[in-house]
Subunit: 363 residues, 2 copies
Amino acid sequence: METGGLADGRQIHYFNTAPGAGRASFADKRDLGGRVSAGEIRYDVLRDEWVAVSAGRSDRPTLPVACPLCPSDGEELTEIPAPGYEVAVFENRFPSFGGFGEPGPLPPAEVTGMENAAPASGRCEVVCFSDDHDSSLADLSPERVALIVRALAQRTADLSARGDVAQVFCFENRGVEIGVTLHHPHGQIYGYPYVTPQTRKHLDANKRHRAATGRDLFDDILESERGGPRVIAENEHWIAFTPYAARWPFEVHLYPDRRFADLAELPEEYIDSFAPLYLEVLKRCDNAYPGEQMPYMAGWHQAPVGEGREFGRLRLELVSIRRGPGKVKFLASSESVMGGWVHDLGPETSAALLQKDSPKGAL
Amino acid sequence: METGGLADGRQIHYFNTAPGAGRASFADKRDLGGRVSAGEIRYDVLRDEWVAVSAGRSDRPTLPVACPLCPSDGEELTEIPAPGYEVAVFENRFPSFGGFGEPGPLPPAEVTGMENAAPASGRCEVVCFSDDHDSSLADLSPERVALIVRALAQRTADLSARGDVAQVFCFENRGVEIGVTLHHPHGQIYGYPYVTPQTRKHLDANKRHRAATGRDLFDDILESERGGPRVIAENEHWIAFTPYAARWPFEVHLYPDRRFADLAELPEEYIDSFAPLYLEVLKRCDNAYPGEQMPYMAGWHQAPVGEGREFGRLRLELVSIRRGPGKVKFLASSESVMGGWVHDLGPETSAALLQKDSPKGAL
């Protein structure tokens, strides 16, 4: 990892397959003004959850003229000062969390009264997967995918050590159907100053399961799914399956075959074996409805940095709103307001669409 | 309420301002075949939640030729056999819950193992607000809105007595932006066989708050919001405000000034005073960005039928993904996968857009 700076003081990190690429030495020649900081987080008394308020983000550009994730090229100055790169990670210019320069405080563990706010500490980063604007994660080589995972692992370790990050979430949103406006292949990292609501549910469920059975819940899920009707792909270290109680029309969980708390704990051989399996899953997603790239959200569930860490488990979750050719599922009142989900296809039907042989012979 | 039957055995209820309209006497002359039942619910071990699997729904028509919510007219046979109506409620032909004819069992309170399913008991109903296809709830008279609320109250009472409904949710989805394909003004009712995840959070929060303070959480929220910067509208019995920790770009909560568990408990004068206030809120939403009807999801939070009922409170929540002129918020990985919300406008900014005087003088 080589670390450089951007014109407004943000950090940029280049991840290279060979040392000494010297990319961090290129200066950012733009005049960006001061750095933009996140706002605050507010405590939702009805849900016992923190919500970020990030008013500055509504002014962020929706369709920039030049792609800010391409390498800088002569007078065309972008977020990446170097003229080329493999994988680059930089602080988001319009962050929902952090951007204060120094780490901020964690929110209070106990709150009273109806209005409680704290600074939106933490960090938001952008992860560029390739300097080829027209590429896509699914088109990259296994070596590149492994380099991306190594970058995420390093960032997870670094953000976990900041002191104002309670949980690191690495994810990719892909597809205009889910509002992605920057088509350059990229992901993001959120270093939240709190443990997210979904993670708290998972930790609580595992805690209860261990107390009741003496076994780890994730081990039992793996044992139950392995060899079953919803397995999509597997190799020596990883298994990908649609879970029994899936809620998205397409939903794939990728587990390593044993427990790691987060990407920073993942051994080299697990990173290397993850890459081809994930590429196969992505190709199967794109082949589910021939001719239609599948929009998706894919994120790494990681154990929190502090309390509850021993109940967490690293795995990746990929979900899609695609529910048929040209059709997407909208999350309407039942899902959005009440959390009551309805699976329209049935988990086995959607798994079968991912299990079928590739019509293009691409697998 | 007059109750009739549809060709496949489903019930239809007509709500009229005057008795003896005789609408239920019109027979459904269609050949629909047998009734379509919901599938099952599956227990999600990682979240301690039930998820409905309703594979049959993916075959439901997306754009029927004739509107099924218009009254039947000669040879044009719809879901409403009568030639005209005020408010009509009928069982959804493609239900996510119920449709078995008789009430089904409630899911087990305790589950073990990794795969647990139960019948998707309960009920799904469609609520037609007017027989005028081109109308909209916001365009109706206060008297009609009050009749709709009376219909919802009656249905809440009836569904609560079934024995296979744990919670009744009455809601409206409006706008192509959130996937609504039937543009006839209508809402829906879900009688869930379980208490929804969001409601469980609210009940838990109130339970903790009462234990810690001796006061009701909803009373404290009302006291805190009243007279504050995010109040949108109020009258003798109701207050509408954007909450302190709102998460949707536009979010309005409408509370009665004292506690009712559900719509069935609401006194007549509260129903009559709700109607004009809600119409004002809807008009303010449509005026936030002139010329753009606001897509929204609006639902009544009601206390569960059984356990936890004493901690619940009736109120309406209206949320919108509109975040600017021609712009909508997409719920991407942070919200969808982790439950980590970011408010892009800021609750006070969005409240101010609803507080401003109507540019059309329509209020």
